[in-house]
Assembly symmetry: C2
Homo-oligomer: 220 residues x 2
């Protein structure tokens, strides 16, 4: 059998209440999977690219519109035994969306779809535990040398909020002074023309990303 | 037709005589392709991963043993029209090998296989022009924030040789003093315990990469 079935599966991350979370859908494929969670995805149409299929399944099954979603190809998983139904090769995607860009419906959890904090996400269908861990590794690596984290941040934010976003992904505390110094030196963010004021705290400078596109922090 | 044929295609780069070059094979698939050049690759066996298939075809068709070849997944090309014979999805790989690690046979060009300088490589079979240009973009990007270039360098080299390798890939002249300062500051190379001596030139300090694995130059 020279033929394979092609699927596109997406790991969509957001930061909800300070916790890195992933969008899951309910998978029902008896006798193999009965009411387990998995990553949103599905098969390619005959005339469809993997990129298009990934976004279509995200919209149809994960109930997330695509307006604010950033997606990039992650890796293609071709282990012959990854799907008990036969040879299914999965083109996997890493996708990001800022929490505040989601509508109330997109934020919501139902019996069929939910946002799951990373640390509580396991025993997914197929090889989705593996796909999730590769996506997580890629995200952790890429936020260290690119401005990819911008795709998880609101339009404006304080440096403390940015630091907390890094910490929620890296699962590590960063040195606050050092972090501020590095971020400002890299010139990847710029000041907004006003501060955020609150009753209980000092006014905090707001920032935005200097460029809307994901840039590598280059060494040469 | 829900089924697709899976292929693995590899862009294998080396630096020959100071020029970035890619390994090509002769493609004969009448009536579509007759004696044109293409990237080494081919179909997956039923129980084979894309990674294994890529390396197998590289060995069998491009006449390059795998001992010193570095390979990583590049991108999966799934345009329904990329192959005139039907739906063939290609998992593409970026691979690198140092010229001095190749045997005389592996260095050689024949009627069926050759090393082609990048600037003279076009009109390849299938969508291989596209795959090559994506591989080239990825290589150019990755050598700027990782130590990936190590996989194209001999075990020991002078800083001038390293600079020339960067220049052959980036197609741009670097500032010599600035380059040396940055490379040494990043501590990605370390001195060998001796210099290279020649009749006509001053002894030149030799270096090696500090780590055998590809590392990201991190901003945080």
């Amino acid at each position: 059998m020279r033929f394979a079935v092609l699927a596109a599966d997406t790991t969509l991350f957001t930061i909800r209440d300070g916790r890195l979370s992933v969008r899951l859908i309910s998978v029902n494929r008896p006798p193999f999977y009965k009411n387990v969670w998995g990553l949103p995805g599905g098969l390619l149409h005959p005339k469809e690219t993997a990129d298009d299929a990934a976004l279509r399944h995200l919209k149809e099954k994960a109930n997330v519109a695509l307006l604010h979603v950033y997606a990039e190809q992650l890796y293609t998983f071709s282990d012959p035994n990854r799907d008990p139904r036969g040879r299914v090769v999965a083109v996997a995607y890493l996708a990001l969306v800022p929490w505040n860009a989601l509508t109330p419906e997109e934020r919501g959890d139902t019996a069929d779809v939910k946002w799951s904090p990373i640390e509580h996400t396991k025993n997914l269908a197929y090889d989705h535990d593996t796909i999730l861990s590769v996506a997580l590794m890629r995200l952790r690596s890429r936020i260290r040398y690119t401005t990819l984290i911008a795709k998880l941040m609101p339009d404006e934010f304080t440096l403390t909020e940015l630091e907390k976003a890094y910490e929620s992904i890296l699962k590590a505390a960063l040195d606050k002074r050092n972090f501020r110094k590095k971020i400002l030196k890299l010139k990847i963010v710029k000041k907004r023309p006003y501060k955020r004021t609150g009753k209980r705290s000092r006014p905090a400078q707001l920032y935005e990303f200097a460029s809307p596109s994901v840039k590598e922090i280059e060494m040469l």
